[in-house]
Symmetry: C2
């Protein structure tokens, strides 16, 4: 019987985006470059340890970049690369779907 | 400091879609109603037990429906509801992103 196999690139994209917290971190960064503390505060249930791991993974995937500003004290900002910014339409569609189909939560 | 909190409906959507295998099952069902065995064969690394759990969860979320055809032997098909079908644009955007930004895998 013919198998309807998934495209490996599609599977890889789903794997990246499905990792716990990853999508919410990318979504948070869509609003612009931010310091670690800002992302941490926007996602109250996410521990600093996991945020740090996820940011490293996203850097490794080329989705997030970490920029060090040589000020005193040093300022470090995280932002999306072009590859990361290109995820915006996915989040736009998730937002639309959630507003149309999920109940308003109290 | 003002917190840039996420919309709970967006978070809920990400939670649903991020659950391991869920997105791939929904994607598979976008090609039309299917029997359990067909979904199972299309996702070779997914066990029947987990597929069965995920289909129940997706039914519970109103994303998948299970239709029993009273034939002999009985035929059971899984398909997307309108709410499930409305996820198509999200998967369209994931496909586009993966094709533009992820390397072709051998």
């Amino acid at each position: 019987m013919e198998r309807n196999l998934l495209c490996p690139r599609f599977e890889k994209a789903v794997e990246i985006l499905s990792k716990r917290w990853t999508s919410l971190i990318v979504f948070q960064l869509l609003s612009g470059p931010q310091r670690f503390i800002n992302i941490d505060q926007a996602l109250p249930n996410l521990s600093g340890k996991v945020l740090s791991e996820r940011l490293k993974e996203l850097e490794h995937e080329g989705i997030v970049k970490r920029v060090v500003f040589p000020e005193s004290p040093v300022r470090i900002e995280y932002s999306l690369t072009d590859k990361g910014q290109a995820l915006a339409p996915i989040f736009g569609e998730i937002t639309k779907w959630s507003q149309e189909w999920l109940p308003v939560q109290e």
